[in-house]
C-alpha cells in the first residue's frame, strides 16, 4: 500500500493540461479529480484487490476469533480447504472471490473511463 504515492505523483505530474481545456483549471477541485481519474482508477483497483488478499494478520493475530467474526473470505477459503478438507467448497469460494473482484473492476472501469478516449 505504501507505493501508492509515487505512482499517483508520477501519473499526475505528467498529465497534460489539455485534458482540462474549457474548464476553469485554477483551484477547481472538480477538475483536479477529473485530471486524476486515471491514477485514481489504477490505485483504487489495486487497493481494493489488495485488501481482499491481506490475510496474514488474521492468521497471526486472531485466527478468525471471536467465533468467526474476523474471518474474511480468503481466510474462510483457507479454513475450508486445509482444516475442513472440503475441496469443492473452497473451489467455489475461489470463484466467488474472483467474481466479486471482477464485478468491482468492471464497474470501476465503466464509471471512470469516458467513451472516446480508449482507442485510436
Amino acid at each position: 500500500m505504501g507505493y501508492s504515492v509515487p505512482f499517483r505523483m508520477a501519473i499526475w505530474l505528467f498529465q497534460p493540461l489539455a485534458i482540462g481545456a474549457g474548464r476553469n483549471i485554477v483551484g477547481d477541485s472538480d477538475t483536479e479529480v477529473y485530471l486524476l481519474r486515471r491514477s485514481t482508477l489504477f490505485i483504487s483497483t489495486i487497493a481494493f484487490i489488495g485488501a481482499f488478499q491481506t490475510v496474514d494478520h488474521i492468521f497471526v493475530l486472531t485466527q478468525g476469533e471471536p467465533s468467526g467474526s474476523s474471518t474474511v473470505l480468503l481466510y474462510y477459503l483457507w479454513q475450508e480447504r486445509f482444516e475442513n478438507l472440503d475441496i469443492g467448497k473452497s473451489s467455489a469460494l475461489t470463484i466467488i472471490l474472483i467474481v466479486i473482484l471482477l464485478i468491482f473492476t468492471i464497474t470501476n472501469f465503466r464509471i471512470t473511463e469516458e467513451k472516446g478516449e480508449r482507442n485510436a
Binding site: P6, I11, P16, A120
Partner: protein, 220 residues
Amino acid sequence: MLKKAFSLAPFGRYYFNTIFIVILIFAVQLVTITIGTFAFVNYKFVGHRVVLFFILLQLMIPPSALLIPNFATIWFLGLFNTKLAIVLPYFGSAFGLFLMRQAFLGVPKSLVHAGIIDGCSWWQLLIHIYLPPSIPILIAFGLSSITWHWNDFLWPLIIINSPKARPLTAGLVRFTQLGEIGARWSLLAAATIIVIAPLFFAFLIFQKRFIQCFINSGIK
C-alpha cells in the same frame, strides 16, 4: 559478526542469484508490459475489453492459490531447482500492464495522430511518442518490481532445493535453521543486514534522484 555469518552460508552465491533474478525479471517485464499496453492503447480489436479484463484477472487470483499449479508446471517442464523456475511465473506482469495502460492513455491522441501522419511505424510510435512521457512511471514500476522480487520469499523457497539457485530470502531462512546458530540473535541480525543492505543503500543514494526525475518530467 558479519564475517562469521558470511562463513556459515554461501551469501555470495545468494547475492549473485538474487541480483540475477531481479534484473532478469525487470528486463523481461519492461519489454512485455510496454509492448502489451501499446497493443491495447493503439489498436482497437474485437474483444479488447475481454482480453484486458482477462489479464487483470491475474491480479485477482490469490497468489497462494497459484503456488501448487505453478509448481506442477515447473516440474513438468523439468525446470525444478533452477533460476529460470523462479523468474518464469513473473515474466508477464498484469500490474505493470495496468500501470502502463494508465500512463499511455495520458499521451494526447493528437500527438499520436501527428506521428502517424509523419509516417511512423509501430515501434517508432512506441519509442518516440508513447514511451518518453511514461519514463517516470516505468521507474516507479521498476522500484516496486525490484523491491518486491528482492523480498519474494515463498515461491523461491518452494521451488529451490540447493544453494546453486537460491536467492537471499530463502537463504536467510535456511541460515536460521542451521544447527550452529543456536539462539545467537546477533548472527541472525548480521545475516538480515546482509540481506537488506543493498536495497537500503540503493534507496538512500537514489531517493533524491528518483524524486527529481518525477518532478522534472512533469514540467513541460
